[in-house]
């Protein structure tokens, strides 16, 4: 087993997984929040845009989005996200394209989580905000969203766990994250198939389990007291 670790860069692969998760989570949170605000805004057309975004990206397989960023955005439409002169061009470009795909896909789930968070905010809060003359955006920004985030910790956390696992899909466009390296290792060392799988599976358990425990601890502490 030690020999497997010295022969292949297993920890490096999981580091790529963590990086993908980190950047995609930030991207998804930003896009998802904007879409969620659009979906509850008083402007009907913006609501329509928000709803369409969620329906489109939630119902498209992540694999299709991932393949599209590589074959479509980059190879056909010429979108380049890294320095083309750099010797790490392919690595960097694929890595960033994968982040785009992950962020865009998970943003729709972040939006739905936030909407359920908004539902947990007591109507009196928003009414009080309106009655002191706050506009919709002020109301959302200072009163509703801060409480909605606290109420949405559990669904947001579940989305984060799904995101950690979905980073494996980046392997279809050649990002050397955990599942990509595992597939390589399985091809090279067919004699220890089970051992390799167990190593990587436990790696993912180690990544996702603390997040799950953290969510249940945090959601209880952050829940708005009524």
């Amino acid at each position: 087993m030690g020999e497997l670790f010295s022969q292949f860069n297993i920890l490096g692969a999981f580091w790529v997984t963590i990086q993908l998760t980190f950047f995609a989570a930030i991207g998804a949170l930003v896009i998802g929040t904007v879409v969620a605000v659009m979906r509850v805004s008083p402007v009907p057309i913006l609501r329509g845009f928000g709803t369409s975004y969620v329906n489109v990206f939630r119902n498209t397989p992540l694999t299709v989005i991932m393949v599209f960023t590589s074959l479509g955005l980059w190879q056909t439409l010429g979108l380049v996200l890294a320095d083309e002169q750099s010797q790490h061009f392919f690595k960097d470009n694929n890595f960033r394209l994968a982040i785009v795909a992950l962020a865009v896909y998970h943003a729709s789930f972040v939006c739905e989580s936030l909407r359920s968070g908004i539902n947990t905010v007591q109507p009196g809060q928003a009414e009080a905000a309106r009655s002191i003359g706050l506009t919709f955006l002020q109301n959302i920004r200072y009163v509703v969203l801060p409480q909605a985030f606290r109420g949405a910790v559990t669904p947001l956390g579940n989305t984060l766990i799904a995101l950690i696992k979905n980073t494996t899909v980046a392997s279809v466009i050649g990002v050397a994250e955990a599942s990509f390296v595992m597939a390589d290792m399985l091809d090279a060392r067919a004699d220890v198939l089970f051992l390799i799988f167990i190593i990587f599976a436990i790696g993912f358990v180690i990544l996702t389990l603390p997040v799950g425990l953290l969510i249940s601890a945090v959601s209880e502490r952050l829940a708005v007291k009524r």
Binding site: F49, N59, V169, A183
Partner: protein, 301 residues
């Protein structure tokens, strides 16, 4: 939904309505600009040429590529959801068993396969089947896809079943025990049938997830819709249009399934509401006509 939407902002008056219309017009302009920019990008790269899109008007494109792919996608999804439902039921029952020797392995199985990414599982099982020559060559990728999807979704469904049973009113269990049923009988004859009906919408929305995840099969060269789309795209040099069409097929299918799940849920909730009044015991008559009695006559599932 409508109630919290009106709570977030005042009912728009005359001025606000004009302003909202202006915002709406502005956002449409922005959207049109973005669309125009995307289309010019597409046109720059010759993606709007008739030659790239006309194949979709040709029946051969559908018959020999996309519909075959769609069939393979549906085959994988249906087999997986059936296996997952059966295995999920067993796992859910196992986790609620009173025997520790059954409960613990089921718990480990569920927690393990919920944490392992489906794609990781597919990479592994595909090579495993290869190594030991399980399944014939043309079925091996399908078997790996089905295995990955089944184990993950069964674990999820097992948990859903357990949550469904836990959410039933305690009176259901107590009533079963008080008429002399043993705890496993109560579980099988009273609790699980009710949890199962409540689970129907979740089963359908799980089908959406399964359907989307079959696309992962393209990574182990299972010939599903995305895989056929990529073949088609390289054959006709129109990858972008093909991927868009493939995405639209998936979106339409999943959107329809989501609608079905929503309708099922509303129907169950309406039925559940009337059931709730009965169960709370408005009168003795409720107990006789109540929907729960008939399950007592069933010996199994």
């Amino acid at each position: 939904m409508s109630s919290d939407q009106t709570v977030l902002y005042d009912v728009p008056g005359a001025k606000a309505r004009v302003r909202h219309r202006l915002y709406g017009a502005a956002s449409i302009v922005v959207a049109l600009l973005v669309l125009w920019w995307v289309l010019t990008k597409f046109a720059d790269k010759n993606q709007l040429e008739a030659a790239k899109w006309s194949p979709f008007l040709d029946w051969v494109t559908w018959k020999e590529y996309l519909l075959i792919g769609l069939r393979q996608t549906l085959i994988a999804a249906v087999i997986s959801i059936v296996f997952a439902a059966v295995l999920g039921l067993l796992l859910g029952l196992g986790r609620m068993s009173q025997i520790r020797l059954i409960r613990w392995p089921c718990a480990v199985f569920v927690e393990f396969f919920r944490a392992v990414p489906v794609l990781l599982m597919m990479y592994f099982t595909f090579r495993l089947y290869n190594q030991y020559g399980l399944f014939s060559d043309d079925l091996r990728a399908l078997a790996a896809v089905v295995t990955g999807l089944t184990f993950y979704n069964a674990s999820v469904m097992g948990e859903v079943l357990r949550a469904g049973v836990a959410s039933l009113p305690a009176g259901q269990r107590e009533a079963g025990l008080s008429i002399g049923l043993r705890p496993p009988q109560v579980l099988r004859a009273i609790l699980v049938p009710q949890a199962l009906t409540a689970m129907m919408p979740i089963l359908v929305s799980q089908l959406v997830i399964v359907l989307k995840d079959t696309a992962l099969g393209s990574a182990i060269l299972y010939d599903e819709l995305l895989n056929w789309g990529q073949t088609l795209g390289s054959a006709q040099a129109n990858t972008v249009p093909v991927l868009i069409v493939v995405a639209v097929i998936f979106i339409l299918l999943n959107y329809a399934l989501t609608k079905v799940a929503g309708r099922l849920e509303r129907r169950l909730r309406r039925r559940g509401a009337s059931k709730g009044v009965d169960a709370e015991g408005t009168g003795l008559g409720a107990e006789v006509t109540g929907p729960d009695m008939r399950y007592n006559t069933q010996t199994g599932l």
